[in-house]
Every structure is written in C-alpha cells, then in structure tokens.
Amino acid sequence: MSENKPESGPTVNPRVTWEGCSVLLDINDGDRLVFARLSAGSTLKIGNKTFSLQPLIGCPFGSLFQVESGKEKPYLSRFIPPTEENNVQDEGGCQLQEESRDNRAIIDNNQAQSLTGDDIDAMRREGATGNEIVEALIANSATFDKKTQFSQEKYRLKKQKKYAPRVLLRRPFSRSICEAYFKKYPARIGFLRVDALSLLLSMANVTANSDVLVLDMVGGLVIGAVAERLGGTGSVCNTYLGGKPYPMEIIRMFNFNNEICKRVLRCSVNDLCAVQNETSEQVSQHEDVCTMDSQSDEKISLSVSTEEVHLSYKNGVSDLVPENELSTTGKTCKTPKAGEKAPKEAIQSWKENGFSSLIIAAPEQDAWSLVKDLLPLLTYSAPFAIYHQYLQPLATCMNNLQLEKMAIGLQLSEPWLREYQVLPSRTHPCMQMSGSGGYILSGTRAYSNTSQS
C-alpha cells in the first residue's frame, strides 16, 4: 500500500511499513538479523519452516510477531507482550533476599526433561501454541523447581526462543544497519563499528545543506549515513579512484525517498581534480588511462553483490546499465536510485565553493595518498574525518599533514565501547565485547599562502 508512505517534505521518518519497503528483522532478541524487502511474496525462514512476511506490511516499526500454529501451517502473528511479562525481572528483584537455592545438587546428565521430541511434535500437531509447549516443558522438568530464580528465567527464555520464536520488525537506520552488518559481515564494512560511524558524522560536521565529499569503500554504509543526516538537502559526492565507483549496495537498505536519493551523486576523483578548462573528452581519456587498483571492488563484492554499475564515457555522457535488484521476490515497487552521476552544474559548484567536509572510509587503502588528493577539494576551515582499521597508516598521514601544514587540530582517536547488562542484582558489563572499532584521524583544513584552491 504505497499510498501509506508519507512523502511530506524532504524528511524520511515513516513509522509504518509499506509494500516494497526494506526492513530489518530481529529474530529472538538479536540472535539473528535479516534484511528483507516486504512484499506479498516475500518469506522468512526460521528453523526449518518458511513464513510469509505479508502480515508485516502496514504495521508500525517496532511491532513484535510470534510464530503461531495456523490451520494449514504456522504463520507470523502480531504479538503484544503483556506487561506482566516485562515485570518478571522486577518480581525477581523483590524475592532476591529470600533466594536460598543454588545449583549444588543439580547434575547435568540430560535426564531432567521427561518430554521427548516425539511428544512435542504430537503436541504441535494437536495445535498447541509455542507458549503452551514451553509451559509443558517446564512442568515436565525434574530440576526446574530446584533452580534459582535467575536460572528459571534463563531456562524459560531459552525454551521460548526455540519453540515460540519472536520476530521484531525494525526500521533500517544507520544505527541498526551498521550494527547488523558489524555483527554478521563486519569485513564488508571494514569493521566500522556504530560508535566509530557516529564519530565520523560528528567530526565531519555532517549537517543539512552541507556538501560532503565521501570516499566510501565500506559498501555504501557511510554514504547512506551521511545522506540520512542531510535529510534531502545539500549533497553528498561519492568519489572513487579510477573509472568505476565502489559497490554501494548497503545504501538500498535505507528506504530513502526521491528527495534524498537525488542528493547522492557520484564523481570520480579525476573528474573532481580536473582543471576547469579541460574538455570532457580529455577527462574521459584520463578515466580510461588511469587504472588505480580496484581490487577492493572484488573484495567487497564477495558476498551478495546487488548492484553493478557499468559506466562508459562518451564525450562526458555515461550509459548506465540498469542495476540488478537484490530481492528474490521480484520488483513490486520501483526504488529510487541514489548515486547518479553528478551533473556538470554540481561539479562546477563544488569546485567553486569547495566541499564543506570530507569523510574517508577506505580500510584497505593508504590514507595519506588519498588525503593528499582530496584535501585540496575542501574549502578552508572544513573538517575531515578518516577511518582506518589500522593505526599505522593514520599515524603516517597525521605526521605528513603536520609537516606540510595542511591541517590543524589533528587528532588520532580510537573509540572504546562497552555494553552493560542491567538487571536487579545482576548488573555487570556484558561478557562479550568488541575488541576494536577502528581508528579515526580528524582535523580541519588550514589555509596558508602556499595553499591552492
């Protein structure tokens, strides 16, 4: 129902799903994250069963769904957790002082549960709900009553995840997209953690009406995040070495409307650096001759590559081969395309005014060689932020920038992020933690008499 999609103004902040929108499905509270596009035919596999995603269309983001046994087959049904369930933890808190149980007598010999797999299947055939199965398992567990309060909660949660899995409908936003990729395919985004991404956006002062120059070799995640902050104003120039732009498939997860997509443009470094008097023929010759290594293209495209943009320059006019859609369910809605080739007026404007900031996320390239070429495209006093997985290239880059007096306020930082479990009497940092989110070199372009615009 695409009429439901709000298109008021340049903001994209729709809170209800629509047919054709991209969603992030969170299965069992973060255990599994899946990106999907909602349509009548799209499906999701949980365990060995396949569920239609149609019930999710037209629901608010944040809705929870549980597997229910239907007449023909199980389906996903909208589920509102009762408030008592959310207060289980609090009740646990009140009874804490009286907790006298511990696990000294519990022996793990796999014999505590008297229900067999066959029994459970039989229950399912008779139409028992997931929750009923969980209760039955608890009732038939010889050791359940001997467990501590916390242990019982953990047991119940584990059974519920297996027999009554829940699916949370999440809105794809730079935060959730970054977290999902960092968890599932961190290499595809160069191990750019969500806090590092947030720092890039702040340090580069990304805001409405700015013209941001981005060299993104992390699948388009940074471009998407920048476009999100621009909200349909300003522009983001996706630049690249050589003749072929880097893969940008992640940008399609964002549900950007036309207004925002129009602002995402691409232009090669050569075209940006070309002297104004050059004709477009000379520019395209540069494109063919200058083959910087695009091995990173292949690296990033190892996993599902949903988009390949082929460009051929003929007198400055490019012929675009249509992209391949990711969805296996076929196209129901035409998604607007971001990353169109920058028109001459845009390139001219960028040259005249300079970009208002620069972000580089090229975790496998040498930072200094990129910065050397791109910094002169920034206006003076423009901030920049460079992300790298490794410290050394940024240290070298920082040193060179200082020696050449190209920038001031240089800072080389590493973000440190730790999550906490907060529960009554069980508050502590999480056992698992990310070891590194990469490094960021930030600074401001300085003006000196030797600078050339």
């Binding site: 903001t11 902040n13 809170r15 608010p60 983001f61 944040g62 809705s63 929870l64 408030t83 959310n86 609090d90 808190g93 935060r175 969500v194 806090d195 947030s198 720092l199 956006l201 702040s202 340090m203 805001t207 409405a208 009406n209 700015s210 999100e228 902050r229 621009l230 909200g231 349909g232 300003g234 005249e352 005014n353 300079g354 208002s356 040498d366 200094w368 206006t379 003076y380 423009a382 901030p383 410290l391 050394q392 240290a395 070298t396 050449e404 001031i408 080389l412 930082s413 590493e414 973000p415 440190w416 992020l417 730790r418 999550e419 906490y420 907060v422 529960l423 401001t444 003006y447 615009s453």
Partner: protein
C-alpha cells in the same frame, strides 16, 4: 554556525565578516570570539586587530603585532563544545555523537531534552534536526536557561532551539508535546521520575536516552523503563587518543640492529615513510596512546517506546 543558507555556508567565496563568530585556535587552547571591526584580541602572542581578519578566509593564519600567530576557524558544534563556558559538567564528542546516532535523530525530528546544562549536547541536537525539526530543552535553573539562550543566539541556532524553565522531574514535560516527540534525552539526577512523562511524549517506537554517572541511577532507570519500553541497552563510550612522533634513524650505523626501517635512499615506494625533503636518513612514524585519558563520563541508557 549552521549552514542554513548560502550566506552562512563556508566556502572558497565566503570570507570573514564583521559580526561573524570565529574560533581562535592557538597551539593548545581555543576560544570563541565575535569579530568586531574596531576590536582587538590580546593574548600571549601579542595584539591581534580584528580588522586584519575581515576579508580573509576562515582557516587563515593571522599575525599579531609581535609576529605571533593564531588560526581562525569557522565554528562547528564540536569546536563549540570545546570553547563554551562550563556552567555545568558537559557532554563531550564521544557521548554526543553516539547519542545522536543511537537516538536516530535526523532532519525534521522533534527532540525533547532536560536538563539543558551548558548547551553542549543541545547544539549538536540542533545540527541534527536542522532545518525542519526543533529542539525543546528544559532546565529548572532560570539563570542557566538564560545563559543557554544567549549562547544559542551567538552561535546562530536559536531558530531551532527553544529553552524553557521547568522542573521536569517534578512536573514532567508539557502536555502540548504528547505523542509528538521522536526522541527524548534525560540528563537528570533522578531520571526515573521523568520517565513516565517521557513515555507520554514519545511517538510509538520513539527513542529515549538517559545519561547518568552512577550505576545505581542506571539500575533504577532501567527498572522504571521496563514497563513501557523495549530494547533497553546501556553503554559507556570513551575516546582514546594517540600521540604521533617521527623518529629519524641514522643509517650511518647500519649494523647496530636498530635499522629495521627501510634502507637509506630507497624512496621509490609511494608508501615510504620518509619525510618530505629528507634524503640522508629514513624515519619511522610511531604512535602511542596518550598518557592522560578520561576514565568515565556516564552511562548511556537507551530504550524504545513499545508499540501498542
């Protein structure tokens, strides 16, 4: 400060004008100065005439009567955080950037905040919601609210921010915002008292963040959040900075076991680390973590309002 229109945007064509706010960058300190044709800036490097600044690009190096120099930078929320006057303890870039990302603040959003404090985070919120959104920020201290209003005028964001004097812990947020807020941010001593009101203000699936220095505050806030919020997560974030130094190695002593760096005069590799203009010896650039670092600012607890 914000690039609301082409006349305020920094660009090659936009130079410093009378009345602009600039950030004066000395080697180790910075301060915000309003450019005034007849004024001067005096510091340990000498006397700087503002009139010398007018007409120069932002990012310029300017000189004093004694030959000392400073840089003049265009203000950004990050620089502002580092120069603003602290009426209260403020949030710094690591927490600020994470909050904005995790609350999913984008242009057009309506954000409620309490307390305003010194306006450090507020300035970044204004940037994030610009140009169509708005930040309503509340502080129970009348004088601080007034100082914040002044700062927002100085930095040019007052069209995006409304400061109210109100005790959010005692009275909650104003009813007029019910169901309209995309995000709520709390930096209060007892945030659990404000959480029920925050719940009423938020849209479905709207985001909330509470910043508290103490873990007991966090525990109590999380207990209160559990009834109407989901996806409750608590983090702490810190920034570790590195110092960089170039160490030139003298290759006249080749066999002393020290020269693991590239051999002398081999500068063919584009990624060579030899410094510019240096031929005789090679050098290595090394980085080490700064000795001084912040240990703790506060815990950030995020949550989403349940969908009914």
């Amino acid at each position: 400060m914000l690039l609301m229109d082409s006349s305020t945007k920094i660009s090659f064509n936009r130079c410093i004008r009378d009345g602009d706010l600039v950030i004066v960058y000395e080697r180790h300190t910075m301060k915000a100065v309003k450019v005034c044709e007849n004024s001067v800036l005096q510091n340990r490097f000498g006397v700087f005439k503002h009139s010398d600044w007018i007409g120069k690009p932002f990012g310029s190096k300017v000189f004093s009567n004694k030959g000392g120099f400073v840089y003049l930078l265009a203000p950004t929320p990050e620089l502002w955080t580092l120069v603003l006057s602290h009426r209260t303890q403020i949030l710094y870039i690591a927490d600020i950037s994470f909050v904005i990302m995790y609350l999913e603040v984008v242009p057009g959003c309506l954000v409620l905040e309490s307390g305003t404090g010194s306006g450090s985070l507020t300035t970044s919120f204004a940037r994030a919601v610009s140009p169509m959104g708005h930040v309503y920020t509340f502080d129970f201290h009348e004088q601080r609210a007034a100082s914040a209003r002044e700062d927002f005028e100085r930095t040019g964001i007052s069209t995006l921010v409304t400061v109210g004097v109100r005790d959010i812990q005692g009275d909650g947020f104003p009813d007029q915002f019910s169901g309209l807020a995309d995000s709520v941010f709390l930096d209060l001593p007892q945030p659990w008292l404000a959480i029920p009101s925050a719940r009423n203000m938020l849209k479905q699936d709207g985001t909330l963040c509470s910043f508290s220095p103490c873990i007991e505050q966090v525990q109590r806030s999380c207990e209160t959040l559990r009834s109407d919020f989901t996806d409750i997560r608590t983090f702490e974030i810190l920034l570790r900075t590195y110092e960089v130094r170039e160490w030139k190695m003298d290759h006249s002593k080749v066999n002393d076991g020290n020269s693991t760096a590239c051999p002398p005069r081999k500068r063919r590799q584009p990624s060579s680390e030899a410094s510019v203009g240096d031929n005789a010896s090679s050098s290595a650039v090394m980085a080490r973590p700064s000795a001084e670092t912040r240990g703790h600012t506060g815990y950030l607890t995020f949550a989403r309002k349940c969908v009914s």
